[in-house]
Amino acid sequence: MTAVLEVQNIHTYRSTAHILHDVSLTVGEREVVCLVGRNGAGKTTTIESIMGLLPVRTGSIRFQGEDITGLPAHRRARLGLGYSPENCGIFPDLSVAENLSISRWLSEERAAGGGNGAAVEERVFSVFPEVRSLTGRRGLNLSGGQRKMVAIARAMFLSPGLLLLDEAFEGLAPVIVSRFREAMIKIKALGISLLMAESHLPAAAAIADRLYAIDRGEIIFHGKPQDALRNEDVMKTLRG
């Protein structure tokens, strides 16, 4: 399997605090990979380092074979790294349609008039048909679940090769969680790889092809979800 994302031995700091210690991970084509860990373990820092929102001190990040370690976030987005942060990052003052249209416009610009906007839109709404009925709503007036849907839909408008989802299931009602799980499977079927940061191991294990466990900024486990569930040390660390 060829790797879409290769993170090699990165060290990341938040101001003077050394958060990530030698983190390496890979995401293959059409693969769902989960990064599990407790709050403060370094999941968000890892995702933000990959997205380019935090600079890495050492180590390298390659996306679809290209070294992106030094690229600013917007260049990474345009290369096809979609991102939905924990707080969703919806622009509160803009309507949902406007939130989506920025990404749609940027991706059409990237395709240099090769306008497949309608096809992309079709794909996005096939995963989240609910979003279609929200387009007139202001970002400010969305519920938590709606905000997450819009954030993922917005990232999909960039025609990404990889989606980075930070706490996609957090705070969702159980019914909606299964709805989201279904959506993740559809996204994967569309040929988009997923890297998801999750604090809840069973939720991650249910959909992940592979799983990394992170604690105190270090990867402490890597393997199949079932193996993680069987591994006493991992379970103990994740439970705290």
């Binding site: 997205m51 380019g52 920025i102 940027l106």
Partner: protein, 335 residues
Amino acid sequence: MNSGRHAFHGVVALAAAAGAILLAMPAVLPPYPLFILSYALIVAIACAGLNVLYGTSGLLSLGHAAYFGTGAYTGAFLYRFFGLESLEAYLFSGTVAAGALAAAVGFLCVRATKIHFAILTLSFSMVLHALIIDGAIFALFGPLGWALYLVTEGSMYVPRLTVLGVERAPNAFVPVLYNVIALSFVVTLLLLRRIDRSPFGLALRGVRDSESRAAFVGVAVARYRWAAFLISGTTVGFAGALYGPLARQITPEQLHWLFSANLLLATALGGARRFLGPVLGAFLYVGLDEYAVSWIEYRGAVFGMLLILVIFAIPGGLIDLAARAAARLGGRARD
């Protein structure tokens, strides 16, 4: 989609109505009020231009007098030293010069935000003000330039320019210029609105609300800010270029930061978050300035207190109040 088309027709209708009313004014208004209306339209163009940075992009510039002044001064220098006498060339040269200055200053300023951005823009405009008021720019034009500076101390005279190659009689000039200004006002606002509603305009709002969000969505933050700065400075420069032939006398006051501040205050008074807010603010500002002359000493205080009241009571500006009142009356006025 349908509502978008509906809104578009609304805008065209509104612009046509505004254009028709404005073009009827020379027949109705006596010369002085027509002159004041011309000035108000110019300030409205400037405030709408300023708002591309302030309201839309969230960048507070204290240096936009530099572009207004550059727009006004460029043609005056070209007249004095190279004999340029046509209005079209005056407008063109002033707008291009202001745009070039905005491109250069903006390139440096957009690296900063918030108070640092405000201070940077202020500093650049103060440098330009100093270059005029100390005569350095006049000195570039040799002994004649320096002599002019010694006589006028930085002010410049603008003659009655020819419009489309025709020289106008003294009392016919202002109505003709007024028509040019009114047309410029309608066209500039339509262009700015188009930019405002484009994905580019939405991206600027995104950058305003959160830089990192805009970045991970794919927006090249610094480049977009620079483009906004360029559009903003060029528009304000165009307003300045219209101002020169109207005022006929340009003074360093138009380059002073207090003028920048007045443009900002007018914009905030009208409402920076709605497209027509700055226009309303500009009209109020010019109106207060002119027709409150009976209280001369107090008009600054009146304006200041009005602004304080607006900021505390209606942060969206007076246009927000008007829109809310209209909405309550049953209409669905959004701008």
